[in-house]
Symmetry: D2
């Protein structure tokens, strides 16, 4: 359960991260901040490519940073865009590999949380490690 302060800090961290986006193709800058259960915060921003399919979203950059530093469980992730856009299906899938009950805070440019839901609510009946008898 996040405190009001933790929520605010996480959204502010995502706003800071947003300024690091490399998005010359979409001009749609996204910032993300991921809070692990160990209490650390990992930042992410989207990084695009002329070949659009190898672009990567902000949320996944944050998750991949955390996982490659040994983290496997997340408490929450805040995502900031100009219009309060939600995480795409691929990002939900990557979050779901590790933690279905993490809270996703979706905020607009002003930092207002316009939607809030768990990963499980955003990707009901997720395909995941159990389909391969894998335990993250």
């Amino acid at each position: 359960m996040l405190t009001e302060d933790q929520r605010n800090e996480l959204v502010q961290a995502a706003r800071t991260a947003q300024s690091q986006a490399y998005a010359p193709y979409s001009q749609y800058n996204v910032g993300a901040a991921l809070l692990t259960t160990s209490g650390k915060v990992y930042l992410g921003a989207n990084v695009e490519n002329a070949a659009y399919p190898v672009s990567l979203c902000a949320e996944r950059v944050a998750v991949f940073k955390a996982v490659t530093e040994g983290e496997r469980q997340f408490q929450a992730v805040a995502v900031v865009t100009r219009d309060g856009g939600t995480p795409c299906g691929s990002c939900r899938q990557v979050l779901a590999e590790f933690t279905l009950d993490a809270v996703v805070l979706i905020a607009n440019e002003a930092g207002e949380v316009v939607r809030e839901a768990t990963v499980a609510e955003l990707l009901p009946g997720a395909f995941g490690p159990t389909n391969f008898n894998v335990q993250p």
Copy 2:
């Protein structure tokens, strides 16, 4: 609204498609059959790659076939796996670009539908074309 016959035919088509999977890495064969609003059925199977990230799922193969033949609206898609696995988040995202109210029939190896939901239900609050003021 699908008739019982249409549902059965779609699931059977997906089972047939499953045999065309190229899945030497996961050994997890997936078949999909997509029914467009124009009444045509497009088949798909997963095609993997030694570099896992460029693998593609069955559902998306079917959608990409349909779209590159001029289709933009879907009625339903059936997906068959050995264990009734659901479409991954990326496949939900690709379906959502075109039709949020398409019905997804999720079946196991025996052809039994173990779960049924619309794309919108599987990817609530989907990120999509409206975030860019695009009309598919």
Copy 3:
């Protein structure tokens, strides 16, 4: 070895395929035509998504169509764009899974082949099935 007629036909097929692109985000329409060793031609066009990373390139659409109809070996692929753009690294990777010696014809909007090379030349020392002892 392709005849001049086969080359021309393949490039023309790719130009036709280009008109089927769904590219509202990049406005960069790509067409592809893949000739299998069995003599069939499969068409592809790029299909984009508001979530850029789940977009797919024309070349891969053509390959996935062919593979899910039982094809595993390719003779050649023609790619057409407005500026003679080359296949991206991911498309080269997907082609390399199946045939390293397939010829890639890269053409501009006028249908002129501006570059020609094998898959092996476009992706030297490719990572592939042999890294996993897999035989496509």
Copy 4:
């Protein structure tokens, strides 16, 4: 131009990074270490997913970390796998967006560099930002 010490340090860093891989599906652990022109080293490891296509390679994790910390130019990247596997086409594409003349050191489990080439050599005639008149 890398010194012998820089090369050795970069390969050793990649070996360390390899231990952070999350690869329960392929059991193929990859480590990467990216040296930016500013002199910093960013580590990466592969992070897989039950839905194989949203897995990510080690090289890209390192690039995305660097780019979201403001880096845009790279000197070199070392990649370590059990068998001296090369970077996949998608990773070459992501590197090519930023620096074509970066050196890629490809090493095996013992830390021996078995292949060395620039990004431009690994992805000749790369599709890239210039196709969209973008300057990274």
